[in-house]
């Protein structure tokens, strides 16, 4: 087991190194003038030449790469060409908002997706099952941006129940001291017992949260349903049933346990998907997260920022994959 984990970590690092190298090379191959970007539009040739030296762009590419890796090992991702701020500092400012929405969506997926799958399996081919399957397929196949716009139209424009976007209302932003401990507003306001802000943050996260959650909810519900149905057809379930054990007990005590492996794997992997999906959703809901940040970085070819976000996303993926593998490995029936 230890050997397996060690092996997985090493491959993870190799993958990350590959991602960094490819992104670095791509950023240099794409025609761009980082020095001109650094000094801003309409800079003079002298200013650009100065910036080139300052950023070390006058050095050969292998040297630049070596410098980049050296800085990276020190936890320094460089400075954004556009804002001139350290990338690590900017990522730290944007990541909590993204994590908050991803975790919110993840919790919804667990709370709604798993029970939905269970009931669907239990009521196989009955009305509830059809409705649930229709919902699951719909939520997986509907494009998230469409859902986002639709929810905005209904809940903001027509009903006026929920805000259009942002993390807090204008009044809260201006007239209240918003706590900043983890950067996740829901958590921070709870820690400081600031329920006014909690309420405000909560109503702001509902629409983007639901949009983000829809895909994993559908996926998890479908996965739970099919895994459960498969288990319920196993011989051991038939023998438990033959002892006269109640159907509820069969389902919850004996069957469900054996479906949790695949469900947890799907759930973990969908978390990675959610992380990327949120990039699009954030723009629509003016959610000040990583997606919003990377969208600007890409359109302005701010390559240190692009590499920074890529490294963060890749790291998340590698870690989540590792966790998914470990969950499978925890199953005593699987030998590594």
């Amino acid at each position: 087991m230890k050997k397996y984990i060690f092996k997985r970590i090493i491959t993870g690092i190799i993958v990350l190194l590959g991602v960094i190298t490819i992104t670095f090379i791509m950023a240099r191959v794409i025609p761009s003038d980082p020095a001109a970007k650094w000094v801003g539009p309409k800079a003079t040739p002298e200013q650009i030449a100065m910036a080139e030296k300052e950023l070390g762009l006058d050095k050969p590419m292998p040297v630049q790469y070596a410098n980049y890796i050296r800085d990276l090992l020190k936890g320094n991702l460089g400075r954004s060409l556009r804002t001139k701020q350290p990338i690590t500092q900017e990522l730290a400012a944007y990541i909590p908002a993204t994590l908050e929405i991803v975790i919110f969506g993840f919790l919804l997926a667990v709370i709604i997706g798993i029970p939905l799958g269970i009931y669907s399996a239990k009521q196989k081919d009955k009305m509830l099952d059809h409705v649930s399957r229709f919902f699951s397929i719909g939520s997986v196949s509907l494009p998230a941006f469409w859902v986002a716009l639709f929810l905005q139209l209904v809940f903001y424009k027509k009903l006026g129940l929920l805000p259009l976007g942002g993390r807090l209302s204008l009044e809260t932003t201006i007239f209240y001291n918003v706590p900043d401990i983890t950067g996740m507003l829901l958590l921070d306001s709870l820690i400081t017992s600031n329920f006014m802000i909690f309420k405000d943050a909560f109503i702001h996260i509902i629409l983007p949260g639901i949009t983000i959650a829809l895909y994993p909810i559908g996926l998890v519900a479908r996965m739970t349903r099919s895994a459960l149905l498969e288990v319920l057809n196993e011989d051991y379930i038939a023998s438990i049933r033959s002892y006269g054990v109640s159907e509820t007990k069969v389902l919850w005590k004996y069957a469900l346990k054996n479906t949790l492996g695949p469900t947890a794997t799907v759930l973990t992997l969908s978390l990675g998907y959610t992380l990327v999906n949120t990039f699009l959703i954030e723009t629509i809901f003016s959610w000040p997260g990583l997606g919003n940040y990377v969208a600007t970085a890409v359109t302005t070819l701010d390559y240190p920022a692009i590499i920074g976000v890529t490294i963060f996303s890749a790291t998340c993926y590698v870690i989540l994959n590792l966790i998914a593998d470990l969950i499978i490995a925890l199953d005593p029936r699987i030998r590594l």
């Binding site: 040739p45 029970p115 805000p163 209302s169 009044e171 201006i174 109503i203």
Partner: protein, 525 residues
Amino acid sequence: MKNKRLISLLLVIVLVVSLIAGCSGGGTTKGGGEGAKNLLFQANGNTPYINLDPSVENSNGVMVLHNTYEMLTYYNYETGKIDPMLAESWSASEDGKSWTFKIKEGVKFHDGTDLNAEAVKKSIDRTMELGLGASFIWDSVESIELIDKYEVKFNLKYPAPIDLIASAAYAAFIISPDAAEKDSDWFNQGNGAGTGPYKIQKAVAGEEVVLEKFDDYWRPWKENQYTSIIMKKVPESSARRQLLEKEEAQISVNFSTTDIEAMKKSDKVQIVQRPLYDTVVGCLNTEKYPLDNVDFRRALSYAFPYEETVNNVLEGQGVQSHGLIPGGLWGHSEDLMQYNFDLDKAKEYLDKSGVKTDGLTIEMTISSGYDEYRNFAQLFQINLKKLGINLEIREMSWDAQWEKAKNPNPKDRQDIFLFIWWPDYPSPISWFEGLVRSEDKIFFNLSYIKNTDLDAKMHEASMLTVTDRDKAEQIMIDMQKEIIDEAYFIHMYDKSATYGISKDLKGFTTNPAYPTVVRYFDLYK
């Protein structure tokens, strides 16, 4: 039992969610409480700032900085004159190489210190020393000398219009002496000290800025002015429109044409067109066949769909250019000749040029991500097709577009480069020095013009800008005549900005010399 518990848990969650959503819905969509009375919300498509250092910012951030800092002078685009701001009066020596400014007394910085000549010197010195952003506007300055507490003298290397330069939208802000000692990081944490009517209360990089009234501002405050301002990034055009329609936001800008049409029908929003100094030109590659032929260039100029672009593509968000200099800026003349769309004339010039069009393909590069550029380029393509010329439209990132334009081999460069130009300070000389002046190493002269006669006139006009502005203006108009006749550019259009503002908002205006800036002090309800 367990599943019952699960159901109850779910029910409770649903109940709590709907309760919270239900009872607070009204509160968030309507401005609540006394404090919100004089609150103004500007929903912005882009980030409200990139850098809050007034010496460095060369982008959107001036929309924040022009409300928190001030300059020595202010360019009044309606009169074409320079108004005093922090300077009370000024004068130049006869040779235009030394300028003296008398500084206003009784003005306070946000940190409580008084404005004086030393603060002015320190601010401009700091901008020049940092050498970032638009600091190059001060290139002519040799030294800044303190005459007395409220008088400062600029000694120049060569004559330059310091009164105009001091009114620039970028890099001309006056900072408190204490703040001038700080670095950019300090400013970007939301700190600062200017003399403007508002102070920064909060700044979140890339997202939002909150401004609050500066009580000791040197001009008196009135009751109905806005005391709290929030500028927030709302990337989606439709979202900005909805905020205006619901009266949550009071000002927003840059909408899709669909949203503009929708807002015209709203009784809560008014659409306001404001002029800009941004001009859109097609730079014609004069070093490459067949565009090295002046008659061929004229043919192209007659084939461009000016009217259709302004009316149908831009939906009125612009006007056809008269030469290089946009309307509202000195140096602009309505008497200059305009090429209009006329395929017969285009054909005539094409024949005159002797260029064979069999299978002739020319390439136009445009910056990617702009629907309007793509749309008028396609209309142009259709027109050229009728002349037997294939227009290949290449959408690329600005960097890729510029890199191609700087290729040492003229044949590997584009034929037409779509370029947007705006001045660094309110002077027409910027267009000539940027787009027309001969360059040893290619930079922004992307028509690759090498015209010594124009270079000489440009130099003369530049010098006269200081001593005899009327004469300078005449020379610039004459230069444009030659530029138009030579058809170095397709003078497409002068841009304008479409604002959506609340119908209750009064005093709204913008000044093209200060792009993206709304001076909130002028607004009231």
